[in-house]
Every structure is written in C-alpha cells, then in structure tokens.
Amino acid sequence: MELTLSIRRRGLARWKPAAGLLIATVVLGWAAGALESRGYPWEGLAAWVVSLGSGIVLLMVASGLLAGGDRVFRAVCRLAAVGIVLLVLAILAELVANSMPSIRKFGIGFLFSTQWDHITGHFGAVSSIFGTLASTLIAMLLAGPLALLIALFLVELAPPWMSRIVGGAIELLAAIPSIIYGMWGMFIFAPYLQNHIQPAMNRWLGWTGLFSGPPLGIGLLPAGIILALMILPFITAVARDVFQMVPAVVKESAYGMGATTWEVTRKVTLRYGARGIAGGLFLGLGRAIGETMAVTFVIGNNHHISTSLNSSSNTISSTIANEFIEATDPIYYSSLVELGLVLLVMTMAINVIADLWLKRLGKSMGAL
C-alpha cells in the first residue's frame, strides 16, 4: 500500500515539468504562428524550433512517467517506424491521385504512345521510358565490369594501405552531389567528348549504326557515361564486400591447386557471391534510373527516339525537371505526374529485388 502510494507520489512529482513542457509547446507553437503572421518571421522560426524540441522532450518524459512507460515508448518508436511505411504508401497514393486525369484520358495507351505534344495535349511515355532505359543500360554496361575490376583490385591485388586509400577515393565519387556531375558534364566532359572521342567513334564504329548523326557532345552517350561514374561507387562497395566475404579457406585451396588470381576470381569468388553482386548491380540500377540533375544537364532534353548514341534524348526524371514548372495545363501536369509514377513503380520494383538479394549478405544501405 505504502509502496504504491510512494510510486504514485513520485509519478505526480514528475508531472510538473511535463505539464510545463506541454504548456511551453502549445504556447510557443501558437506564438510561432502569431509572430510569423505579424511580420516577425525569424522570431517565429525560433519559436517553432523550440516548440518542436520541447514537444519531443515531452514525448520522452511522457513515456517515462506513465506507469506503462515502456509500453508508451515502444508505441512511439513503433509509430515512427510504421510512419516510414505509411510515408512511402502516401507518396505512391499521391502520385496516383494526381495522375488520375491523365490515366483517365489516355488509359494504358500512355505507356505505348510516342507522342509528347503539349499544344495538342497528347502525351505518351515511350520516348522518356526509352531514354531512361537506354541511358541506364549504357551506365550499367560501363559501370558493372568496371566496378567488378576495381573490387578485384581492392581485394586481391592492392596492398592493404593502397586498398584503403583507393577504396576511400572511389567512395568519394558517391559523395559528390549530382548537380556537380551535371555541370562538369556539360561544361567540360561534353565538349571533350565532342572534339576528341566522338569523331573517332563515328569513324571506327560508325558501321554499327549506333553512332550516326553529328557529334554534339550532349545526348545519350555522355548521360550514360556520367551515370556510370555516379553508380560506380555503389556497385564497387557491394562487390568489394562480396569478395571479402568469400571464406579464405576456399580461395586458398584454389590457389593451392595452382589457380591464378583470375581463375580464383572467376570460378570461386564470382560464383560464391553471384547473388550479392546481382543485388549490388540492382542497387546501381535503381540509382541510375532515377538520377535527375546530372542527366538533365547533358542529355539534350528532346522527345525523340533514335538508336544513335549521339542523338539527344530525355529521361523520365529530366522531363519532369525541365517541364514541370511550365506545365500549367491540368492534363500536361497530370501526364508529368504519371511519368513520375511510372518511374516510382520502376525504382520500387528494382529496390525490392535488390533488397531481397542483398538480404542474405546482411549488407545495409544506410548512410555509412
């Protein structure tokens, strides 16, 4: 009896600061709105921040103070976790809702129409999907082998100190913001490609039909190359982890049989980690397919389908980036949102597959 009383009393004592915080949260939140509407924006912002902070502290205190503190804490944590799921679903739902006018008007034909004409109001996704897939394909063809070779270098060939430095440098490629890639691509790389690489390609590889048309520097090829650079660190990181996970005993026994480094890699390492590497490739694919800024700078933004890598093209994300602000016409707007929806569905599918394949690896894709 006494015990419960004392607990209750202590619980009561803890109410005071909590009540204070509750009042502070409400008052500050209200003050924030009031200040901001009366032309004291900075004071308003500060009040918002403090209000938010006290709200969070309040949440934590509240979770401790109730008799079932742990239950509340657990519920709050769970709410946050489930919130992420709901957020993804909300993004999906919102894009579906906003693309409804376009879905109603064009139906499934949206996915098969090559038209993109905002004067007559006919929209189709084919040119954007084609550009997205083509530039991603180029990126994967370049980055996949390159990443595997770099991972091989990092794990098998380089001495540890060099491996650490080179590996860190390759990872830095992932830290460079995509707009920097875009700017570098447009001002430096595209002219270089136009003057030095593309004429040679046209001459020697022109027979393939992939390099017809004048070399402009911008177009599918530079977009693919820059995307390849951007996804290189992701695939390399996964491939390196996969290579390192192969048990040393297995590799050593192959070396003991007289196998060369390449043979060990091809016949032991790659087979052992095939699934992980596939997961890594899908991770890179997911990044490449949705990349916006870098591509927007160099792809030329043209709703035009051509098999030539020299021709300018567009991707789903570059189309949205370029045209969204101008799209005042409702059907134009909702067609752009529907393009976004197509992209979202594509990246979701790719990420789920990558997730399933990487699960076995225990590799996370967090910030580290």
Binding site: E36, W42, M60, S63, G69, F73, C77, R78, A80, A81, I84, V85, L87, V88, I91, E94, L95, L149, I150, L152, L157, V166, G168, A169, I176, P177, S178, I179, I180, M183, W184, M186, I188, V249, V250, S253, M257, A259, T260, K267, R271, Y272, G286, I289, G290, E291, T292, M293, I320, A321, I325, G340, L343, T347, M348, N351, S364, M365, A367, L368
Partner: protein, 303 residues
Amino acid sequence: MDPKALSWHIEQAGPMRPRGRRGRRLLNRGVCAFSIASAAVGLLFLAWILWTVMHRGAAAINWTFFTHRLAPPGAEDGGVGNAIVGTLLMTLLATLLAVPIGLLAGVWLSEFGRDSRLAGIVRMFCNVLMGTPSILIGLFIYTVIVIQTRPPHFSGYAGAIALAILMLPLVARTAEEMLRLVPNELRESAMALAMPRWRVTLTILFRSAKAGIITGIVLAVARVSGETAPLMFTALNSNYWPDTMNEQMSNLTMTVYQYAKSPYPDWQQQAWGAALLITAGVLVTTLGARLILLTGRGRGARR
C-alpha cells in the same frame, strides 16, 4: 570450415580443365592489368571533376561572393550570400525534423521489432524510400504542401520537409545498425537494475553507440545538403535574403542549376563558385565524419 561446405564450394567452382600454363598466365596478367587500369580510370575521373571544380570555382570566390545576394547578370556586386543562408537553414530544419523520428524508428527496429515480420517490412520500405528518386520526393511535397497551402506558394518549409524525407530512412537505418552493435550484456545488466527499457535505450544504448550514430547523421546531412531535385518544386530559389521560411527560399544548389544553364558568362562563373562551395562543404563533412569514426572514438562502429 566443415568438409561438406568445402565440397559444395568446389562443386560450385566446376571442373578446372588443364590448359597451357603460358596462356593461363597471360590471361591472368591481362585481367590484373585491366583491374589496375580500372582503378586508375575511377581515380582519374574523380581527380578530373574535383580539379575542374576547384580550378574554375576558385576564380569566382572573393569577399563579395559571400556577403552579397544574387544579382542580375552584368551586375558588379553579385554574390551567393543569401543562397548560403537558405541552404543552411533548410538543412538545419530538415535535420531537426528527420533526426528524432529517424532515431525512434531505428530504436524500434533494433530494440523491439528485431526479426519480426513487421520489422522486415519496415526495413524494406526504408530501402525503397532510400532508393526513391529525389525528384519524386519533390513532386510529392509539391502535391501535398505547395499546392495545398493558401494561396499556393513555394516555401522554405516545403523544401526542408522534402529534404527531411530524404534523410529519414538514412538516419533510421544507421541508428538501427549502430544500436544493434551494442552488446546485449549492456542491455541485460541495465535491465537487471530495474531500469525501464526507455531509459536503457536513451541513457545507455545511445551513449555507447554515440560515435556511430552521430557519424551517420552527419553523413546524411552532408548528402542531403547537396540535393537539388527535391528543391526544384518546393523551395525553388529567390534573389532576396530570406525574410521568412514561408516563401520561396534561395539555396546554393538551385542557384548552380539556374546559373549554369544561363547564357551569361558572369552567372556561369558564379555557378562554378557555388559549385565549389557545395562540393567542398559536402566532401569536408563526409571525410570529417569518417575520420571521427576511424580515430578510435568509433567504438562498436562498422568502418
């Protein structure tokens, strides 16, 4: 390794047919050479990009560049001061929004959800959100905030919320990972002292996973602060010093985008300067965070 597993691996490897020793060696040499060359190519491009940004950007940087606001082309006294302030503010607000929620979600995944089915689903959605193109996040915020506010307007708040959504899964997953590395004995001994779970988590687990979690947050902040696409339809850009976050807000990345695409040489010059600021900021933060983790204090950290 037990013999059964070993024989499985050997079966996986398939038969090794005899081949000329010379050919095999040559092939091996060739692959090794290619491997070294690939690493060199990667480094070359990194150096090329960084050098370009430094070289071109340095020419734009002077005192006015930091202290003045965006100006029309041809103006003598243009700077990116307001864009720096805008980027910092939006990143700050995004961090304030995303970190508490992300940490709580990470706690749930590591402490309560663990291997349950719901936890698996949450992890998968985290990864999906991480892989969602950032421009779609911008689109989402445009539809739920920008056009819903009365009157519809772009705002720094919308930009910050978009950035926060990008940060959220990063924070959640790193927090989970770092908390999972804390040895179970710590939880058990604390709970044996009748500490409630919430206090164990907040006072003991967070403290022992501090270095890793802070590094993760800093890396997430660095990544988000260099984003352009989510700001395009949310904060847009502005030529003025921000008066409030409830209006179009200047920021560095959109400034780079608009200036670089413009035909004016002086704007392009300033775009390079701003690009240098962004790159330097992001890279220094990223490297700094990794260094903190490497130099000892990263107990229980992965890398």
